[in-house]
Symmetry: D2
Subunit: 171 residues, 4 copies
């Protein structure tokens, strides 16, 4: 069986945070996505890594969201699907921007992230990345979030800060 | 959002094996599925656990496969989907039996298992369970295997012992 | 064989920090010492837990150091040994205070801590606690630090912030 | 501070066992000692690795025990201490053989092992190795076992198979 070629765009965020011993805070210095990918058995997809930026999403500008959306739209034309690893605080802004730009991309674009960094024992990072890597193979073209055992379709996906997850906005 | 109610049938197998200190081998004494489920964020499904049997699948009889298939078919009528956790050596036999019995079940039935027990640091158990718990929400009614980042549809799914995974039989 | 009764005084610090999902920083909310102790095979000692305070050591006052030293000195008279789990930034101040107060306590008092919280995959917390729990059985009465595969005796133990460990001051 | 040079003799045993996916049993194929050593902060010792043999200790012959004892005795003359990583079933035989050969070696010789391999989530391997690496710095010349939070001196150390640990023989 031929593996589907999937583009994985990394933009930073909690999922990639590592612990800085000296300052005692979590900062975005090193990408741990490659460590996570190496720990998974990937028989369905072949991953093409695109390290687009490495930002806490709270620091993203409108231009950053547009750049992410444009890059995802372009890669959706070249690959069988696209995954965007994104900080959760501003993830929805990039997702909505992509819908504004192209409506439905040429192949499925799946956003994911994490509430707790991979470096923590009790992280949700591996679960979410696993889900995104499976969902991108099963979904029709569109813009989605895969995280915490659910897939939600843009537009109308928002972070529920109190619940620590994403929900579909009720109109 | 309402969570989908999913039935999870456990039958034993590597995924649930625990280490017996005295004999130094891996044996099927204790279910670790509940530990795994507790470590995941389940926002999409509500899991109903059915501990049907706890067998190394190499010891399963034709009657065992029929019992598993009948139980899955029945639960597929009651729940929004069914997951069957199964030893990999005879997993395909239960999947094929289900197709023989009902053709297409009333809701998706997703088999999964593991090549390396959850108790090992480098297990594939959590990845596979995560994938089954997501796939069951996205797939149309049918009989499937979800494992190692791919979803394969029965009939015609076989274990590739040398590669340590499952593949679709080429006719 | 009778286990030695050891008093374990907890005071807070990095070793016990847990991750706060909402704020994204590491804070001292919950003691994880009991989780760590439960993960070790303790055949040599019976641990008596004394939760004295739960402070980032940078916030400790002179009174805090005196309270820690007095409590350790008192427990050293009652138990076969004392372990003090302490934030590393001000650990040396409590150790020096104990030497000032009593010179040599009635049984060995071993300070320990961690540079990286237990909640992180790559923590030094378990190593250091393991070392303290063994050293307290082997050392003569005195005041010590056990951490990072070494035992140093007070007075004259200082944190080397750049190296991320403790060293013996060269006079 | 100068680190003490410690010789670490590996002989195989549970501590080094890795999981063989195909056969589903635990076998001694790959040394994981280097992975364990890399995960520890070693500020007190500099480790010299001697891979003497890689055997399940149940398969050790009298010659094997003599070879282990002679190698340890020789290295105890050259290094500041010696650690012997050994399968627990026949560990005591090598320890007793060393006492027969030399009585008290030139520097401390500390045996250790594990009841549960490092590859398991709930292993005692790291605890035991950590203890051996600290004990070897604190003990007087002699032959010892360090494991499960205790140090026992040879002769007269025996495995208590039911308790899953070592005890001092009561005469």
């Amino acid at each position: 069986m031929t593996k589907r070629r999937i583009a994985l765009i990394s933009t930073g965020g909690t999922i990639e945070k590592t612990y800085d011993e000296l300052s005692g805070v979590l900062a975005n210095h090193v990408s741990v996505l490659d460590v996570m990918l190496a720990s998974l058995e990937l028989r369905g997809v072949e991953v093409q890594r695109i390290a687009l930026m490495n930002k806490d999403s709270l620091e993203m500008t409108a231009d950053d969201h547009t750049l992410i959306a444009e890059t995802a739209a372009q890669l959706a034309r070249e690959a069988a699907g696209v995954i965007v690893v994104h900080g959760t605080d501003r993830l929805a802004a990039s997702g909505e921007r992509l819908v504004e730009l192209v409506g439905t991309p040429a192949s499925p674009v799946v956003f994911t992230g994490a509430m707790r960094p991979y470096e923590l024992r009790s992280t949700d990072a591996l679960q979410n990345l696993t889900e995104a890597l499976l969902a991108v193979q099963l979904l029709a073209p569109g813009v989605y979030l895969a995280m915490h055992n659910q897939v939600l379709q843009f537009p109308g996906v928002v972070k529920d800060r109190r619940a620590g997850t994403f929900v579909k906005e009720t109109p």
